[in-house]
């Protein structure tokens, strides 16, 4: 019936099929597309984990604000003469690990820069250890940088750097419109030792809506200091729950406490509220860090907590200590909800806890009567639907109307099957004990 049209199409096809193809460029295009996708997948993974940290970080930040900030003038002056570091004085003074690094000249000045159009990025300096790299940098421009948004950053080395996490992009400090200073913390999930100390630092940002991409090669002038590893494998017990302290690694930038849980525990451990490093007199040498506080996931059985480091200052004796742990009976440590019926099927057996509202897109939970408690943690981590499909909430926010905490969990998808199972991230139900493990210095 349509023979003539079909013939015409066949002849058009023939012409298309004889077209010579740019085969080599095609391979390059495939390669580039794949690299871009791989990079992005890596970042989404990191971003997913970061939501957890952000929640925990919020909790820690509150504590940080509660303690008044006192900076010794001598120290402040010493740090302030290092270019780009003026705004970090408080941050450094508050973090024992960082102040030790500066007092011991472990900060390395770099001064490498690159110009892109009107903008110049200079790497002022950095701190590198096996756990990560802090890069302190300044962008100067003939244009205003007040609306700058740092989008992404990347480290390159001849050695492949496995997926890492980072924190970046503080807002402009408003002091000088043509100058932006910031630092980026790269955190390697597994300790890294680099043979080749030549690196590339890439940073993308938008200034007045336009994208700028910097790529600055630099070499770390000095070898990095090795981390101290304390292999412990000690089993601690709090109210009958077994917590295995596998090892403590003290890096210059941070102390990493690797913990796993006994799968036969009757309670699920959610958060360690007061994990710290102490000396023999009970002085705290390292408490929780601002920013990244943990990696890994307790619900998968193991986690690394990150504390301030005492790398450069060793007390006579050093202990890892914690007393207060958030935990719930295993069968109560998750929420089961039906978003169609708006029903909380199961969860913590706690009269104060309720589901206020739920629809396809989000659910609101509330905990009432908590006037005495400062509970500043997020509520959930991952979600699993009735068919075992796992996803992460697209966002979770917390508000505290009168004597109540409310969490709004947005699912970010409506493509799931009820009921949903939401893993709890934290919950103000505490078990108490006194765990104190001595760290014997391997250097002695």
């Amino acid at each position: 019936m349509y023979d003539r049209e079909e013939e015409k199409l066949a002849s058009l096809r023939q012409r298309l099929d004889t077209e010579t193809l740019p085969s080599e460029q095609a391979d390059a295009a495939i390669f580039q597309g794949m690299e871009r996708a791989k990079r992005e997948k890596r970042l989404t993974r990191v971003r997913k984990k970061r939501t957890l940290w952000t929640l925990a970080a919020a909790a820690v930040l509150i504590l940080a604000f509660a303690t008044s900030i006192r900076v010794s003038p001598a120290f402040a002056n010493a740090v302030a003469v290092i270019p780009g570091l003026e705004k970090f004085v408080e941050l450094i003074e508050q973090d024992k690990g960082l102040s030790g690094i500066f007092k011991n000249d472990y900060y390395q000045a770099i001064g490498a820069s690159e110009q892109q159009g009107n903008h110049t990025l200079t790497i002022d300096g950095l701190i590198l250890d096996e756990s990560g790299m802090n890069v302190y940098y300044t962008i100067e421009s003939s244009e205003s940088l007040e609306d700058i948004q740092v989008k992404n950053a990347r480290l390159k080395n001849t050695k492949e750097i496995p997926p890492y996490s980072m924190s970046l992009g503080g807002p402009h400090d408003g002091k000088s419109p043509n100058r932006y200073t910031d630092h980026i913390e790269f955190y390697f999930e597994d300790p890294m030792v680099f043979d080749d100390l030549a690196f590339g630092f890439e940073l993308s940002a938008t200034v007045s809506g336009e994208e700028v991409l910097f790529s600055v090669p630099f070499t770390v002038p000095e070898d990095i200091k090795p981390s101290l590893v304390f292999a412990l494998d000690e089993v601690a017990e709090i109210e009958g729950q077994k917590i295995i302290i596998e090892e403590v690694i003290i890096h210059p930038l941070r102390a990493e406490i690797n913990i796993s849980l006994d799968p036969t525990n009757s309670m699920k451990i959610l958060q360690f509220e007061d994990m710290r490093l102490e000396d023999e007199n009970g002085n705290v040498w390292g408490s929780m860090l601002n920013g990244f506080t943990s990696t890994g996931n307790l619900s998968e059985g193991s986690i690394s907590y990150l504390l301030q480091s005492n790398y450069f200052e060793q007390p006579g004796e050093l202990y890892l200590r914690f007393n207060t742990v958030q935990a719930l009976p295993v069968e109560e440590a998750f929420l089961v909800i039906d978003t169609e019926k708006g029903e909380l099927i199961s969860g913590p057996k706690d009269a104060r806890f309720s589901m206020e509202k739920a629809d396809q897109k989000e659910a609101i939970f509330a905990l009432s009567g908590i006037e005495d408690e400062a509970h500043r943690y997020g509520l959930t981590t991952g979600i699993e639907d009735a068919e075992g499909k796992r996803f992460y909430p697209s966002s979770e926010s917390m508000s505290t109307p009168d004597n109540e905490i409310q969490w709004t969990v947005e699912f970010g998808t409506t493509d799931y099957t009820n009921p949903l199972r939401l893993e709890l991230f934290a919950y103000p139900n505490r078990i108490k004990g006194d765990v104190k493990v001595e760290l014997k210095n391997p250097r002695e």
């Binding site: 019936m1 003539r4 099929d17 460029q25 794949m34 791989k38």
Partner: protein, 172 residues
């Protein structure tokens, strides 16, 4: 490794298999780009974007036998989006870079496709340029075969009007 096995492994997340798969279908994908877009530069960009999108989504493919068609459809969707974008650019009065380096060989095809709506373009392309069977198109679109057939007839009718309007049918 045959192409089905390659597809299965790529869906399961095997990077090498994915790369091999892209190599295998590179020609078909590029020709698709040439059918819709007008120059080599845009076609290569389209291939890059298709690779990117495919890598991000390949784990969602249910039937490995349809992988090639799945890739072609990603490419066609991208090309059609680009065409729409270019159209907007032209209407904005801004220069349209892509059209300055037109590939005259394929202009006729591009014009013929332009007489159809996007769905019809994809249908014609899959059926007559990639030899995808009506049965498979029906399975992919989750519609009965009869529906595909009647859509095809309607589309050919539109094309007939297009070719007749151009007075070109006599040359075939």
């Amino acid at each position: 490794m045959d192409s089905l096995e390659m597809s299965q492994r790529a869906i399961a997340g095997d990077e090498e298999a994915f790369l091999a798969l892209m190599q295998l279908h590179k020609e078909a994908l590029l020709r698709t780009a040439f059918a819709f877009l007008k120059d080599e530069h845009s076609a290569l960009e389209a291939l890059q974007e298709t690779t990117y999108r495919a890598y991000m989504k390949i784990h969602t493919v249910k039937n490995p036998a349809y992988l090639k068609t799945w890739l072609i459809r990603i490419m066609m969707n991208y090309c059609q989006d680009q065409l729409k974008k270019n159209k907007r650019l032209v209407m904005d009065g801004r220069a349209n870079e892509a059209s300055t380096t037109s590939n005259f060989e394929q202009l006729e095809l591009a014009e013929a496709l332009a007489s159809l709506n996007e769905k019809e373009q994809q249908l014609i392309y899959l059926k007559y340029f990639q030899d995808v069977k009506i049965k498979d198109i029906a399975a992919l679109e989750k519609v009965p075969e009869g529906t595909v057939k009647s859509r095809l007839h309607k589309t050919l009718r539109t094309l007939r009007r297009h070719f007749e309007g151009k007075g070109e049918m006599d040359h075939v």
